[in-house]
Amino acid sequence: MTDLAVRTPVKGRSLWGDAWGRLRANRAAVVSAVYLCVMIIACVAGPWISPHGFSTIYQDYVRVPPSFKPYPADDTIEKSLEGAASRARVEIAEWREEGESVVARVTSSKTIDERITRYFDRTSAFENATAESRSPDGMQLTIRAQIERHRFLFGTDNVGRDLLTRTLIAGRVSLAIGLLAGLVAVIIGVLYGATSGFLGGRVDEVMMRIVDILYSLPFIFFVIMLVVFFGRNFVLMFLAVGAVLWLDMARIVRGQTLSIKRQEFVQAADALGVTQSGILRRHIIPNTLGPVVVYMTLLVPQVIILESFLSFLGLGVQEPMSSWGVLIAHGAKNIGTANWLLIFPSFFLTTTLFALNFIGDGLRDALDPKDR
């Protein structure tokens, strides 16, 4: 008998393993998962790689449309030079481009201070401006400045910030809120629902009535109250969204628990003398996890939308931080003049939601193949 036990046991294929196999056979779900991974990596790493800071303002490039061409474009160099010159109260006598730098001779009716090169540095188009030579009377100055080339693949917003970087940083916020608040809702919901369903009777009554009461609070009113009392901040968003969404989860898990509780394997555990918490931990919760996982993939988009909605109303994250909802709100205001402000963030948001929903659908099919 002992040598039987010593023999290496055959590895079993768990239900999770089976589900994983079925999920991998589902093309839409796999593509979505890959897309989502790319999106997450882009949102996390993108802002670090991007040459633009998410809050850097390029005064000269307000609302430039998306393009692959670098700014300043050749025809705008002169405008930039003139702008800088007029701020420095000098005039451009002549200018020429030499490779990646520009050389300009400026004149003035007064002596020119060499420090006016700063005015050129301050524009978004030039950097490292130096005074090359100065006329003896001091009324002419030759300035050499390097042209600073910027690319704005997604264009810039109303104050001249790079939209690509802002979209990625906004994605960070939206995805983080989505995943974390989703997770919070799932953990609270599963524990609460499973306990309520398993204990049953009067405890169940009381616990579910509490859920009903929370349901009856208007969500926006609840958030406004939180904002009034605690001020606006990021953590509050988690709390507000998480506090509302666990209610659905609790109901779903309770329903599952009620049906699992009547199954014979729970009775068998009871007959073995397993404690209530043991039954809950080993038998009930693992068996509710299938629907829970599915629900969670559908919950994350819901949270992202809720956050977008709050941000749209101005109750969410604050400038210069951003989320997709905030960006879309801005874009909506500029839909006539700068439609890219709306198009890019909404594309990111909707495709992410699509991907999450496809994964959710795939998981549902994978976990419960009978339903198809």
Binding site: M1, A5, V10, A268, A269, L272, G273, V274, G278
Partner: protein
């Protein structure tokens, strides 16, 4: 019957399913035919493809299934028809009744609605005519007070009555061929016998062919003219019933015929001590009630039952569904609240709460009926078997637990190297062995076996019965064996209690109860179970005595 023309001829029929794991062949190259007035039984174990074969003929395969071959109904190949054309034949000329009387009627419509619909559809009768015809049909299937029953909803009828309604629906359009897919499996034995008698009678009167799908050879012998034996998708033998039963040619058929549980249990030695004793046990449930509802009804599931189980003894508890036999056993294990005195090894259990019962749980174990529902699908066989050790011997290391689980699995004759597999990877019989291993790993004194063999094929049943008897001898176990299957009880128990409506109607040594039952109910049960004969119970049949207590 010889001389009659064949209504249905099936030639080289194959049924395949596209699944995730590739193509699965459910039926391979099947050939058979049914003539008018003939009853053909298709027998085989679960998964042998017997249902799928007829589903294919009816065009009722699941989405991923497809059939090849020929199913010739009076010159028309059923497999080549469009669903529309098929609808002219099925439901009218070929009809089917299913196993589950609980789910095959739509709960939202009255019996009358469901019965008149196919009549109006297929016979172009007016509503009134169809109504009269429906009443005729209900009379034909012997449902009393047919006119009143037309307005009943399915939940108001008992299982047997529902099956009668299903039969009435099936014969409504004078079919040529009736396909009955395990029509009596979900019913109690006495009702089963009545339904069989009804089918036989209807077949004679209407002159239709009958295809009877079943796993129960007792029924086959009683009802069928010819038998097709199926094994893993193939018809391995077919022939006249008499011939199959007297001189089976194929080894598989022989095995099926020999798969009756056999042997007898010897009573324990005279002075062996009483382990578990219940005196005047009562269990009642209240139904309904609440703030605005009428006062709750009290349903007494177990009424004043006394029982005493000695060491090494097996008490068989028999009775029909709803007789309170499972409730009694659960009450004795304190899994349900009850009144009365329960003693285990001389100790009164009545006042013990959950925590105080816990140390005693290892002595009192239970094995359930459904080998699919009683094992948690997310745990491995090893984890399931060793769960009791976690509770009762928490000091054991994980390696020790694993070793003990392997030993227990070996003891129930399962390969211990399979212990990391999950329940869905085992067959029904293997799962039941896992459930038994879970019960015996704690070395209990009393094991309640709640229909442990009912969900299993005959052959597996026989093996499990042998296993349970071996374990009993090895560990001096005492069994409470609950079953509605009297043949298994005969092989397992040395003492029998017959229950009806929560009360004990008769009790005694197994041999005595089987040989000379005293109580009329016991006699009826024996007759139905052992010879398949329906014994009419005056003044009403057994089916109708089970009126529903819930309708006020």
């Amino acid at each position: 019957m010889p001389g009659e023309e064949a209504i249905l001829q099936v030639r080289n029929l194959s049924v395949r399913f596209r699944t995730m794991d590739g193509i699965v062949e459910a039926v391979r190259d099947a050939n058979f035919s049914v003539a008018a007035r003939e009853t053909v039984a298709i027998v085989g174990e679960s998964g042998s493809g017997k249902s799928q074969m007829m589903m294919a003929v009816m065009g009722l395969l699941a989405q991923n299934g497809y059939a090849q071959g020929l199913a010739d109904y009076r010159g028309v190949d059923l497999l080549k028809l469009t669903p529309r054309q098929l609808n002219h034949i099925r439901g009218r000329k070929i009809t089917m009744i299913f196993q589950e009387p609980m789910t095959s009627l739509d709960p939202l419509y009255t019996i009358g609605d469901q019965l008149t619909e196919p009549i109006i559809r297929h016979q172009a009768l007016s509503g009134g005519e169809a109504f009269d015809r429906a009443i005729e049909l209900l009379d034909l299937v012997r449902i009393p007070e047919a006119r009143r029953r037309m307005r009943s909803y399915p939940y108001e009828l008992s299982g047997g009555q529902r099956q009668r309604v299903m039969i009435a629906m099936a014969i409504a359009n004078n079919p040529d061929l009736l396909i009955a897919d395990e029509p009596t499996t979900a019913l109690d034995v006495t009702i089963q016998a009545e339904i069989l008698a009804l089918l036989e009678d209807l077949q004679k009167r209407l002159g239709m062919g009958l295809v009877f799908i079943t796993h129960d050879l007792g029924i086959v012998r009683r009802i069928a003219d010819r038998v097709c034996v199926m094994q893993s998708g193939k018809i391995v033998e077919q022939g006249a019933t008499e011939r199959i039963f007297t001189s089976p040619a194929h080894p598989y058929t022989r095995m099926l015929l020999e798969a009756e549980p056999e042997g007898r249990k010897q009573p324990p030695p005279k002075g062996s001590p009483t382990v578990l004793e219940g005196r005047r046990i009562r269990v009642s449930f209240s139904i309904g009630g609440g703030l605005l509802a009428p006062p709750p009804l009290e349903l007494r599931a177990v009424d004043d039952v006394s029982i005493s189980l000695r060491r090494g003894q097996t008490i068989g508890i028999v009775g029909e569904s709803g007789s309170g036999k499972s409730t009694l056993a659960r009450a004795l294990l304190k899994l349900l609240p009850s009144e009365g005195i329960i003693r285990f090894a001389g100790r009164d259990l009545a006042d013990l709460d959950r925590a105080a019962m816990r140390p005693l749980r290892r002595e009192l174990q239970i094995v359930f009926q459904d080998p699919f529902g009683s094992l948690s699908p997310r745990l491995t066989a090893g984890q399931i078997v060793s769960e009791g050790l976690l509770v009762h011997e928490p000091s054991l290391s994980a390696a020790d637990r694993d070793r003990r689980a392997a030993q227990a699995l070996a003891e129930v004759q399962l390969d211990p190297s399979l212990r990391n597999r999950y329940p869905h990877e085992f067959s029904g019989g293997q799962r039941q062995r896992i459930a038994i291993a879970r019960a015996i790993i704690l070395k209990p004194k009393v094991v309640v076996l709640d229909e442990p063999t009912s969900a299993l094929d005959r052959q597996v049943q026989k093996q499990i019965v042998a296993l349970l008897r071996d374990l009993q001898d090895a560990h001096e176990l005492s069994y409470l064996f609950i079953s509605h299957d009297l043949k298994v009880v005969h092989a397992m128990a040395d003492h029998v209690i017959v229950m009806k409506d929560g009360k004990v109607v008769e009790e005694g040594d197994t041999q005595r109860i089987f040989d000379e039952p005293h109580h009329p109910y016991t006699m009826r049960l024996m007759a139905a179970a052992l010879s398949g004969e329906a014994v009419p119970d005056t003044p009403q049949s057994a089916d109708e005595t089970r009126t529903f207590p819930l309708t006020r």
